[in-house]
């Protein structure tokens, strides 16, 4: 018998032996059914439009959504999903102005600014063919206020819509009492096409709020009771331009045009595939290999892409509405209580150098003013007051009582453990040592630990940011910079600032209101309140040249997903 013969036999033996084990163990997974089923509504090919039949597929990198319920979730990636398949009464345009989407014209507001009457377009249908009625919007708003749904964005309606707070606070009450409170809410369907919303007080930004997911309609034929579970992607009905056709959790979601979509712009692609890839580095590799058409670019790869003659042409850079900075715990007895100390630490950080070495250049522009978004812009207040200036920093530090770093108390900077944050921490530590001669400790924890400690005030100094929910300056102040505000985790408190915010909140004169917020911004910065900005985020994208229509708006969460929230504008010329 030759040697090669037994070598071969041996191989076969090994493979067969293993295979028999493999098959024997393969029984118990039959219950794991694939979520891939056929779309609930009509066939996607029926959706025709004036610009010709939709063609092609666009595959983009996305993050797995956590919760499909628009009245519950607050995850950025979820919100991006919602706008692809759901639409509300209004929709923000690229200039951040609310425009009617499902509503027929702008709302009629009563003289005292409290009652909003909104007409729906006629003939609107859900993706499964059921008519869209005003009562669906009523159910949607009620659902957000529902204590049993316990939606994370309850706060956005809680104080504005009449009766919402009473209802949302009634969690422990009996069912009939809850029902009573729900009925008493200031949201009514006058008829099938007319909706009336009553507010507690005049709120100039309420139309903008009506563009947001907490006010999206509930398909009551799918969610019969107000606290029923929201159906999964394949079971629900949709009002947006696209609807899911295939879903495999953690892997991908495929969207096809919604045949009943009423908007003016009709979908131009047959299919959008959201490929769920956690690691952005993996996503860019897949992009390089041509497996996905668009992805975010991690800052660490920016220099390499910039140097690449092909990829640099596919690079898109957008300002995001997110600003990060130093957040001191300002409560009494804390190191951060002293304003001069806060100023000193901010003034000692060279933002330009930080941008170069930590963020690999230009990803995040150092704040020389504020973003040209909704945020009230106090000119160069940032730069002059808290910007990099070693002389001023040293002065501030001696004013705080620690000339040349002498006697500086123990201060720990709390950071989430990521590659970028490690560089950031090392950089900041070095800056403070070099420019102020003080030693700041670094503490790295995982994100949940950081959140807990930040939320409960168990920190001295963190790097924290704020992402705008909706494009209005008030979103940067209400609850965030007010004394005792629900999101004021730094414990910052300035009576003059409180007064200004209180006035601006209910001011229906838009121009005056914005001026008041500008004033407030100036006040906050000069007193080194709450958050001392270090950088603005700008989002980097790689988009294949054959894709068009991915225009960026600057809405909340927008920069977390590829392209815009208007997938109906996307097109591809790839064969």
């Amino acid at each position: 018998m030759t040697r090669s013969r037994w070598r071969m036999l041996l191989g076969i033996f090994a493979v067969l032996g293993v295979f028999s084990i493999a098959v024997a163990c393969g029984d118990d997974d039959d219950e794991g059914d694939s979520a891939a089923t056929q779309p609930a509504g009509g066939s996607p090919t029926q959706a025709t439009n004036s610009g010709g039949a939709p063609k092609g597929t666009i595959t983009i990198r996305a993050l797995q959504f956590e919760n499909w319920d628009p009245h519950f979730s607050d995850f950025a990636q979820d919100i991006s999903h919602f706008y692809m398949v759901n639409r509300g009464l209004y929709m923000l345009d690229l200039q951040n102005k609310p425009q009617p989407e499902l509503a027929d014209g702008m709302p009629k507001v009563s003289a005292d600014g409290k009652v909003y009457t909104i007409k729906l377009k006629s003939g609107l249908k859900w993706s499964d063919g059921q008519p869209i009625k005003a009562e669906h919007f009523v159910a949607g708003i009620q659902r957000t206020c529902n204590p049993d749904v316990a939606g994370h964005y309850q706060f956005i309606l809680d104080e504005s819509v009449k009766g919402c707070h009473d209802y949302s606070a009634a969690g422990k009450e009996a069912a009939d009492k809850k029902e009573q409170l729900r009925a008493a809410m200031g949201v009514k369907a006058i008829d099938d096409l007319t909706l009336e919303i009553t507010l507690n007080q005049a709120q100039p930004t309420f139309t903008t709020i009506l563009t947001m997911w907490p006010t999206f309609p509930t398909p009551t034929h799918k969610v019969a009771k107000v606290d029923d579970k929201w159906p999964g992607p394949m079971e629900s009905a949709y009002t947006g331009p696209f609807m899911p056709s295939k879903y495999t959790e953690k892997n991908s979601l495929e969207l096809v045009p919604n045949p009943n979509w009423s908007g003016a712009a009709k979908p131009k692609v047959e299919k959008i595939v959201l490929r769920y890839i956690d690691d952005p580095a993996v996503a860019t590799q897949a992009y390089r290999a041509g497996e996905i058409d668009a992805t975010v670019l991690p800052a660490a790869e920016f220099p390499a892409v910039k140097a690449d003659s092909n990829l640099s042409k596919e690079l898109n850079q957008f300002p995001a509405t997110r600003t990060f900075g130093l957040a001191f715990n300002q409560r009494a007895g804390q190191v951060g209580e002293k304003m001069d100390l806060r100023l000193a630490l901010s003034q000692a950080v060279d933002r330009d150098a930080m941008n170069q070495v930590v963020f690999r250049a230009f990803r995040r522009r150092p704040p020389t003013g504020c973003r040209r978004t909704a945020r009230a812009c106090p000119l160069n207040a940032f730069k002059d007051q808290v910007g990099f200036n070693v002389t001023k920093a040293k002065e501030s530090l001696s004013k705080a009582g620690y000339a040349d770093g002498k006697g500086f108390p123990k201060l720990t900077l709390l950071l989430t453990d990521t590659t970028e944050n490690k560089d950031l921490g090392a950089f900041l530590k070095d800056q403070w040592k070099k420019n102020l001669n003080i030693d700041v400790d670094l503490e790295f924890v995982d994100s949940k630990t950081r959140s807990t400690r930040y939320n409960t005030g168990a920190f001295q100094l963190v790097i924290a940011g704020w992402q705008e929910d909706y494009p209005d300056p008030e979103n940067w102040y209400i609850g965030l910079r007010e004394t005792g505000g629900s999101i004021n985790k730094e414990g910052c408190s300035l009576p003059a600032l409180d007064d200004l915010i209180k006035k601006a909140k209910v001011n229906t004169n838009d121009e005056e209101r914005r001026k008041q917020y500008q004033e407030a911004e100036k006040l906050a910065v000069t007193n080194a309140q709450c958050n001392l900005p270090l950088w603005h985020v700008s989002a980097l994208r790689l988009v294949k040249p054959y894709i068009t229509g991915m225009k960026e708006s600057k809405r909340a969460g927008d920069t977390f997903v590829m392209g815009d929230w208007n997938p109906e504008n996307w097109a591809t010329s790839k064969k």
Binding site: A281, P298, A300, E301, F302, P303, A304, V305, A353, Q356, V357, V358, R360, T416, D417, T418, T419, E420, N421, K422, D423, G425, A426, F427, K429, D430, L442, E443, F444, V445, D446, S447, T449
Partner: protein, 319 residues
Amino acid sequence: MSTIAQPFDFTQQQVFTKQRGLWSQAFMRLRQNRLAVISGAILGFILLLSILAEAVPAVRRYDYDENDYSVIDQKPSMDHFMGTDNLGRDMWSRLLQGTLFSLKIGFLAEAVVVTLGISFGMLAALGGKKTDQVVVWITDMAYAFPDLLMIILFRQVLFGRDWPIIGAGDPQVPGFSGVLLATVLAISFVSWVTVCRLVRGQILSLKESDYVMAARCVGASQWRIVRSHMLPNTLSTVIVAVTFGIPTRIFAEAALGFIGLSVPAPFASLGTLVNDGYAKIYTNNLLVIWPCIMIAVLMLCFTFLGDGLRDALDPRTRK
């Protein structure tokens, strides 16, 4: 059956060599294994170099946390043997610091593992039936936990609190920061089971061996039997397990870096260096190549040394 088969003749060996003890014989055999000797030498060199780098500024040349923004992302040169990273830190110095950190984790975790493993293994094998059952049950249980989960949970529970010795803040033991000790303990807690089982099995089989029986017959005390007959025979198994165990612990620590539970900056371990390097691979691939080479070299050396030690300590596997 296995104890009867002794196909190799000791007589011949003894003609050429003087009477030697177990250890010196083993050492002699190890010396004959060129690969193992070279691996051992390389390991020793790396260990020495990384310790020297910590102790002597001339060896590390730069501090591992010394930022210099005028020389970011440099290629290797005479100024910076291995180039610099994006904060302008010297990679040579960082690599040595990371290597020492990982080696500390490897050795320290293995020390805890061996201590726990031998104590519990002996307890089980010698402590009577009840004790044995309890220890075996505990090892079964520890075995049933998913390793990574336990390491994460233990590390999270241990780290960042005001425990004595391992607590946060300044290193309470010089050279061994809190995070290092917490990681070491977390890794050890899930790893000692293997050694425990090994030791228990070995001692149980030794208990039945002829020479232990003989020693018992001539009236040797229990302690004497354990000390001079059982332990040395168990130790050879343990030493081999340790040699293979150290790289495993280094891997375990490295895996933590992928979950956001790495070593706090500006410190580094090999795992953190690799993990952080990947993010920058297209910009400066040297950042990931150096630590990968270091890990591969360490792994190879430990593997060859472990093979050599096993051959040397087991008289049956002579060529």
